[in-house]
Symmetry: C3
Subunit: 428 residues, 3 copies
């Protein structure tokens, strides 16, 4: 499938998922996972009951919402959940009341610095209710009686997440984790599961996989903590590299955000891939810039090698956590860029091995068609240079990733030549 | 006590110590130490006899001086020790003679490049006599008979130094060493003992000390060698960080001069403190810029972790080693700056520990009042960020000093929060 | 002997060697080695028969040539081996034929981008014949019958190389390797053996040598592989530093090309020497810029510490591998520069030891005349500073090379002072 076709497919999925009102629990999550399962039927959907302890936390009550609105003193519906699900603070308790403007103001959230945008707000662990609206609209509200309605439920139920495990030749695992807990936002929500779904589809279709792949679609923070509480030993034993997939849909930057340790395999592979496809990629670090589930995966007692390859990082694009982060922020090109960069990371991880030149001194390449037979020319062509470099640097210690990085050559170009040299028994 | 008050107090002490004629032995040293003992009565004053061997050296004869002058052919006293004690070369032997200008010139020292300044000269280990004067004055000397008088003694006696040991919870020691052997100079003499005296007073007043403090007031070079010859084993076993305190009184720069090893605890703590209080601080290294008692403390067979935090380094300010380094070069602000930077180093050393997050994944901070309960805002406030950072980076390996340095946050700010997190059993 | 005299002597040798038609085997190599043996009679000349296996290669047939030319349709000799031996492709098989221009063109080599230059071409391992000529001349060739003559032989014989071993106090060896297989070219051929011959002469004349020196004159690539196949174990056990000597005759740049490991003793010594004599020297690395016998010496299974100190690197000067790389590209000054830089490397290797200050604290230098006896002056003179630095930094761990590099002082200056300090029992 070509580049445009994949980008478009991912964007179509994003458009379908965008309108759903997700939170950290509830039917929005289930609906989202069912759409993803249509594309990768091997996905398991797992439910964990409210009250389940997970390390320092417990699974909260399940929240669902059917409608919410505010009617102004003139009887006009002025804030309407059905128009934009960001209008309701996530986890708002039900309410049906008349109140004056002053009382209502206590429950309104807006952004004076970004007056056209509806902010995204949550209150998962303190029971309250609230409406979010643009500051511009807020300033038009006049005195009088407002009718306030939130038709929600907050009751014992479940937390829901999706898990796809694709076995490989070894038990060693590569983890892809993305979150499905924000309502209608583009780059900082729906780009992640959309790209991850298509990475899962591509991996499912591979005829062989060296590593086992663990792909999870979870609510952010509490979902990651819950997942870790159920799988910590296994993950610590097996995961050699992990990615949190988020903010992979806009077409502005590429960004690398390091793991806590900063120099793990996944850090090296992201730096190699981004260095080759976009030398101007941005570098961010765990201590100053962490913000998504790397906070859990890299926390000191968990300590997994997990890093992020993003387009524009959460918090660094102006539309972040507002209604302006909509389907115009992401694009088929942006999503394909995120997808393909992560795919290349996986290609590099799969192909990364330590090779050793099996001949003492240079092999006699002429007889094998691996060197031109007229000598004296000033420079070798790229193909012959790659051959020479692989043989000269494969010392049984340096892995192919480091070798590619030193040569500033894409590892995926060298991989094709490695196969030839292994076949001819020049590398082992 | 506030900043101004401490700076003024240190300056008052400096003014009192300034006029005394110190050398590496003699009553000037004793007088100086007695004034310091008035402020920190716990100070021990120790006398070691002439002839005592100390490694490759021996304690020299004791030198004392009561008067010295030159009377010109017109009968006018033109060079007078009582006007400025720099006029006499330190350790000058006694003399009372009439001589012509040519013979006198052999014993005069001046600075053609700095014609207004009286230079500072010594001859501790070759018996000679000399007068120092401004080059301007020297050029006015006319032919004729000069009366030359130095009323000094150079006889078996003692070398004198001061020692203050403040026990702490552990035997591990922090060393503060300053010198008391130069006559009337400001930044490169009297700033050191003045600041060190007030650090000693502050440390004496602390209700608890983790480390033992060893504070010594010694003649430079020979005094340090003597002190090391008496205490080497103990110091090598116990000292974890040491400071030579000198040139801490002018208000121009901050300077860090590294230990010989360059990466010891004291190097790290000075770099952290100066990086926080003055990002433009100057960096100097042992191999090129050493000059005071770090030469002994860091010599290969001694090898203590000793470095320098200075204002403007010896040799780098124009008044250095001349009469121009007087009480106008130092100031209450300059002295307070040196004092406070060294005090912060000690605060960091006392507080530096390796912490470990005791919870797997992030703790549930909301219930403990350590995180805002409305989610979705773009950035956390500083207090919440510090909490998050301490928990995210305390991995049981990195000490608080490195953690502060990575975050580019003053360690003294984090220390307050560490106490809260330890109390709430989140850090251990 | 002074600088000019040595440079001129090396240049005279280069002029004598230049006209000889060398290849990887044959009488040109023998002739060259015999001239060198005139200057260093200790040189052994070794012959290895055709067909001898060496790792993945075998010694090829021996090639000799007496004449070669092309006569144009007008009967004029237009390409003549006797005018310039680059006109014949090295290892051309014999031929004596008449042919049309089209057939001849198949066997002609020229450089459209460098139309005045005759290129250098070889075909060691595929039997063919060819003529090289300037592109300008090629474009004047007209239709008609050409008489083509190459009077060469390609028959079982020998590969010839020279070896000079100069025993030292230890079995540890320093290797100097240069090649003798190109016909008439200046910087990229004859500078190497000419400079190496005079380094050999200098080393032969030394009254004592700490290390054993192994100096070899070999055909490039196949010669290095052959030499390694006969000496690999011994070299791996004994060689502590090696140099490939090539491109050491022009007077443009100095260039350092690193070993594969990049941080061996020879890398450090070249960086020190070039840093002192030419701070603008060029840095090249093995992975991108290798090209001569470091390809064999540093190949993964051989792994010797071998690097290059060159003037302008092969491939980086415009005359490279053409008839323009003639005796005007090299000069007495250029050759002396290459010679002397390599000589200084050897001086540093011979003198590099780990010293330890034998006194605790600073020694009392005044009594030994190693410090001025008037104190208080702002800065010490260079001689006293060197003494102080050697004593302050000789910790029994850092070698003199690292110490010199840290101080940014030529090691050959410090060596003279080291001798004094060892004599006075201050260093051990």
């Amino acid at each position: 499938m070509n580049e445009n076709a994949i980008g478009t497919e991912i964007y179509e999925l994003a458009k379908e998922l965008f309108p759903i009102c997700r939170s950290i629990t509830g039917n929005g999550v289930r609906h989202t996972l069912n759409i993803i399962k249509r594309i990768i039927p091997e996905l398991n959907i797992i439910e964990v009951p409210t009250g389940t302890p997970c390390f320092d936390w417990i699974v909260p009550k399940e929240w669902n919402i059917s409608d919410a609105y505010v009617i102004d003193p003139d009887g006009k519906k002025i804030i309407d959940f059905k128009e934009n699900n960001l209008h309701v603070m996530s986890y708002s308790v039900p309410i049906r009341e008349k109140m004056g403007l002053e009382a209502l103001q206590e429950h309104l959230y807006s952004l004076p610095d970004d007056p056209e945008a509806i902010p995204y707000r949550t209150s998962y662990y303190v029971e309250r209710w609230g409406f979010c609206l643009s500051d511009k609209q807020r300033n038009t509200l006049k005195e009088g009686d407002y009718q306030v309605v939130i038709e929600s439920t907050l009751e014992p139920g479940h937390m829901t997440f999706g898990e796809l495990i694709l076995p490989g030749e070894t038990d060693q695992e590569i983890l892809l984790s993305t979150y499905i807990c924000h309502p209608s936002m583009g780059n900082n929500e729906i780009s992640g599961p959309s790209v991850t779904t298509f990475l899962g589809k591509w991996l499912t279709g591979l005829t062989s996989r060296r590593y086992t792949y663990r792909i999870i679609f979870i609510p952010e923070t509490i979902g990651a903590i819950l997942y870790l509480s159920r799988n910590l030993d296994h993950l610590q034993r097996n995961v050699i590299a992990g990615f949190v997939v988020t903010c992979v849909g806009d077409n502005r930057n590429y960004t690398y955000l390091s793991s806590r340790q900063g120099d793990t395999l996944v850090d090296r592979v992201i730096q190699h891939v981004l260095g080759q496809i976009d030398p101007n990629y941005l570098v961010r670090n765990f201590q100053e810039h962490r913000g998504s589930d790397e906070r859990q995966f890299c926390s000191p007692k968990v300590n997994l090698p997990v890093a992020l390859l993003m387009r524009t990082r959460f918090g660094e694009f102006p539309e972040y956590h507002t209604s302006r982060d909509d389907l115009t922020v992401i694009s088929p090109e942006g999503l394909f860029g995120g997808y393909d960069a992560l795919r290349l990371c996986i290609v590099c991880l799969e192909g990364n091995r330590v090779y050793r030149n099996s001949i003492t001194c240079e092999p006699f390449l002429g007889s094998r068609g691996l060197r031109p037979d007229v000598g004296g020319v000033k420079t070798l062509g790229v193909y012959f240079r790659h051959i020479s470099n692989l043989l000269a640097l494969s010392d049984g210690k340096m892995d192919l990733l480091e070798l590619s990085q030193r040569l500033q050559v894409p590892m995926w170009d060298l991989l094709k030549i490695v196969d030839v040299l292994v076949l001819k028994k020049l590398l082992e």
